[in-house]
Symmetry: C2
Subunit: 301 residues, 2 copies
């Protein structure tokens, strides 16, 4: 049995490194060095793909490719997250409970996780459930993933199950009639939806009329949707994984093509290090979203 080999498109799919980057690294750093097929096209052995995935993960934690590629394989696996100005959460009873929930995911016990979360939802109520359970849990999952404690598919399982809980809870709420009409979505390439769902839950609780459009809307479509739905506000979410450098240009462009009277709210972990621009409201936290809602109602009153 020959080890399967990947063409450059497959490697891009599986690692998230663009073809341009893969070729550039080969030229510059001498890694990866794929075999060539009869047409002279690159064939990456599984081993190199595995290394690339590891490198990508460490890069997402703030390491630089030049260094990583020069590092021998054994040291790579031992590398810790670099930009961890993260303070350890005190081991409160609360933190322990969250850890237990994540342990269920790690054991791949979907049923038990769902049940435990349902209980918390019932106990805390939707607002506190979102703010005190889902939000910190999501943050923890990000940290676990950074530390290499979660596999991709474990993160996916967590996301999928949690999405279901939130959607279910939102569906149980009465359709909001008083607040602003808020259109929730994300730009292409941004597929994370948990943040949007958390905001939707909070806004819906406050009686706002939420229009969920899912993720990955082309900018022009967002603008059209805003007009068609006569939305008061377009709310976008950027996860920490989204390349920060692209966000300002995206927002400026969207602002240009959107109706002037429609508000633009931008939130999610990816916006933490962003500076505000005219015509849009930054919502680095869930609380900020609630405040923005109150402020909007103020101006309308």
């Amino acid at each position: 049995m020959n080890t399967p080999s990947f063409n450059i498109a497959a490697v891009e799919r599986d690692t998230g490194l663009s073809k341009d980057v893969l070729r550039m690294w080969e030229r510059r750093y001498g890694f990866p060095v794929p075999d060539r097929d009869s047409n002279g096209e690159r064939c990456y052995p599984a081993e190199q793909v595995e290394r690339l995935r590891l490198i990508k993960r460490l890069m997402d934690q703030g390491h630089r490719p030049g260094k990583l590629i020069a590092t021998p394989a054994e040291e790579l696996t031992a590398l810790a997250p670099r930009r961890s100005a993260r303070r350890e959460p005190e081991p409160t009873a609360e933190a322990g409970e969250l850890a237990e929930l994540l342990a269920l995911i790690k054991q791949h016990d979907a049923g038990a996780y769902q049940q435990a979360m349902q209980q918390r939802l019932a106990r805390q109520g939707l607002q506190r459930f979102v703010q005190d359970t889902v939000a910190p849990l999501t943050r923890r999952v990000g940290e676990y993933w950074e530390d290499g404690n979660f596999e991709v598919f474990e993160e996916h399982l967590f996301t999928e199950l949690t999405k279901r809980l939130l959607r279910q809870a939102i569906a149980a709420l009465p359709g909001g009639q008083r607040g602003p009409r808020v259109l929730l979505t994300s730009v292409p390439e941004e597929q994370h939806v948990l943040g949007l769902l958390m905001v939707e839950a909070l806004l819906a609780l406050e009686g706002a009329e939420c229009i969920p459009l899912g993720t990955q809307m082309p900018l022009l479509e967002i603008a059209r949707a805003a007009s068609a739905h006569r939305a008061d506000i377009v709310a976008l979410s950027f996860s920490v994984a989204f390349p920060v450098r692209q966000i300002p240009a995206l927002l400026t462009q969207l602002r240009q093509i959107m109706p002037t009277e429609t508000g633009l709210w931008v939130g999610g972990g990816g916006t933490a290090r962003l500076t505000g621009q005219p015509g849009m409201t930054l919502l680095p936290t869930l609380d900020a979203a609630l405040q923005a809602l109150a402020a909007w109602r103020e101006t309308q009153a």
Copy 2:
């Protein structure tokens, strides 16, 4: 106010045409011809982006780019779907009801749509709801979209609302304990999830243990997840929008890296024109999925 202009990455995002294709068309057909900024980089005016979006839509319907680009703008908008070997559905009472549901989406009345669908679910029961309502509705939406009757954001709204209904219905089912353990997901680039949810609903109804991992899993992760969850079956979905040419290579590769004893079920509209390969089961229809389930149980008995 100057019209906003798009760099090549933005056009790729908004049209779904790769940078390579955009440059190639420019070289070969003389369209699009973007302006250049001070660095000599392409700046596409909004007008050309709009035309590209239209061309892309017609291409998805089977037209060829060479012809489309040569066609003057006025004729483009009038072009009908080309591969429409589609027979008009007879105007039964049933078809009328489906049209009414879609009309609600077209009116952007999310609340009324949800309510109407809830009623149908209660009336038909989950199995018939999936097979007689959601499946034909999804097909209709695809046709509407092909015919230019649906905007992207209307399709998104439909998808999002319908996803919620299905997930809600699935959550209400007891956790399956007897059937095979089925891991449901899709490959990277494939973000359509409705098909997966329909299958999940049917399998869960039959008592199978479904593990939903969401969409867009790298192949290596699918293999890992299959091992970790000790899945009996991995079920993948390809929508009609997925480039058919890439599917066989993907499946072969996945089959190679997956545990031999794990089954591979492949379904969705994108697999209709696919020929089977050893080690995998094609499920062109929802019925086929139920048959495959029965067959699997047969072999285990």
